[in-house]
Each structure stands twice: as structure tokens, then as C-alpha cells.
């Protein structure tokens, strides 16, 4: 139950931060910011989905987490780590070729890692983990 509550609280905090950022008028509305907003919203949606699914399981009398969900997370994490190494190599290449600020590149890299993890998680869920 603790993990479910933590998931909801973190999602709410991220949404509140995004709302504050937008309301304070610091968003210029360029394509880069809109894409970043969209990615963060997708990631918050993913976190909310995980929390809701865990809460539903608990309500049905099942454990919130079991060996499959832990293995899916472990497998997705290891895949995402492996892919992220190449992602950071790509970010380094981009930093050489463009004049983007370092904080923008690091932010993009971190968001990219989260997106890679999301896709790895979906992949493991869809294809399963036979013979592992």
C-alpha cells in the first residue's frame, strides 16, 4: 500500500510542478517545451497506471507486487540501462554538433532514459519472458 501512495504523491507533485511552471508564464510555447511537456505527461500517466493497477490488485485481495511484476521491472530496468548507454553516447554526439545548453541536453537525456524504460517495460509486458 505504501508504494501505491508514494506513486500517487509523486505523480501529483510532478503535475503540480508542471502546472506552476505553465501558470507562472515561463513556458514560451516553442516545440521543444511542448514535446517535453508531453513526455512528462506520458510518464506521469505511466506512474498513475502502475499505482492504480497495484491498488486494484490489493482491493481484489491479490498482492500488490508478485514475482512476475518484480521480474518485469528487473528485466525492463536492465534493458533500459543497456539502451541508455547508447542514448548518452548519442547525447554526447549531439552536444558536439549543436550549441544547445548543457542543462537542456542533460534534461533531454534524463527524460530519454525514462521514455526508454517505459518502452522496455511495455516490450517485456507484450512479449513476456519465456525461458529466462
Amino acid at each position: 500500500m505504501k508504494k501505491t501512495i508514494v506513486g500517487f504523491v509523486i505523480s501529483a507533485l510532478v503535475l503540480a510542478s508542471l502546472a506552476m511552471w505553465a501558470l507562472k508564464g515561463r513556458v514560451s510555447g516553442n516545440i521543444q517545451e511542448i514535446v517535453m511537456f508531453g513526455i512528462v505527461l506520458v510518464l506521469v500517466g505511466f506512474a498513475v497506471y502502475l499505482s492504480v493497477s497495484r491498488a486494484r490488485s490489493l482491493r481484489r485481495g491479490e498482492p500488490g507486487e508478485d514475482e512476475l511484476s518484480r521480474k518485469v521491472m528487473t528485466r525492463a530496468s536492465s534493458l533500459a540501462y543497456y539502451i541508455s548507454i547508447y542514448l548518452w553516447l548519442f547525447v554526447m554526439y549531439v552536444s558536439d554538433k549543436t550549441s544547445l545548453a548543457a542543462h537542456s541536453l542533460i534534461g533531454a537525456g534524463i527524460l530519454g532514459m525514462a521514455v526508454v524504460f517505459l518502452f522496455c517495460w511495455l516490450g517485456v509486458k507484450v512479449f513476456g519472458m519465456k525461458n529466462e
Binding site: S57, E67, L68, F127, G128, K130, E132
Partner: protein, 77 residues
């Protein structure tokens, strides 16, 4: 590795959720097992087999050829 969980569950008139509760996992895990998308831990395999009153090898069917294809046969050498 194949398994007879779906068949045994029907024979015992159990839903996926009921079996999941009995062996202490989420319903999704039973779905994955029945679809052959996940190989359970020895502990879970033991619990499921015990629930149906059968030895593990009668619930989970090992395919020797498939095991070798995935490199699982090396332990026998």
C-alpha cells in the same frame, strides 16, 4: 516449457483470480503462465502443483528440445 494450468483450473472449477489468490500471486501472473509467456519460479510451480495435488512434472511439461535451443541443456553435460 508448457503447462496444464488452464486445463487443471477448469477441472477444479477455479477462476484465474481464485487460483491467483490461493497461490499468492496477481491474476496477471496466472494469465502470463497460461499463455506460456512466463516460466514460474520453482516456489510458485511447487505451490501451483501442490494446490492441484499433482507433482510438478505433471503440471509443467518440459520440452527437452526447446530447452537445448535456448542453451538450457548445458547443465546436463
Amino acid at each position: 516449457m508448457n503447462n496444464r494450468i488452464k486445463e487443471l483450473r477448469a477441472r477444479h472449477d477455479l477462476s484465474q483470480l481464485e487460483l491467483a489468490r490461493l497461490v499468492g500471486v496477481r491474476r496477471e501472473t496466472i494469465v502470463f503462465l497460461e499463455k506460456g509467456k512466463y516460466n514460474p519460479s520453482l516456489r510458485l510451480a511447487h505451490d501451483i502443483a501442490k494446490h492441484f495435488g499433482l507433482p510438478i512434472e505433471e503440471v509443467f511439461l518440459f520440452d527437452d528440445e526447446a530447452g537445448r535451443e535456448h542453451g538450457d541443456g548445458s547443465a546436463r553435460e
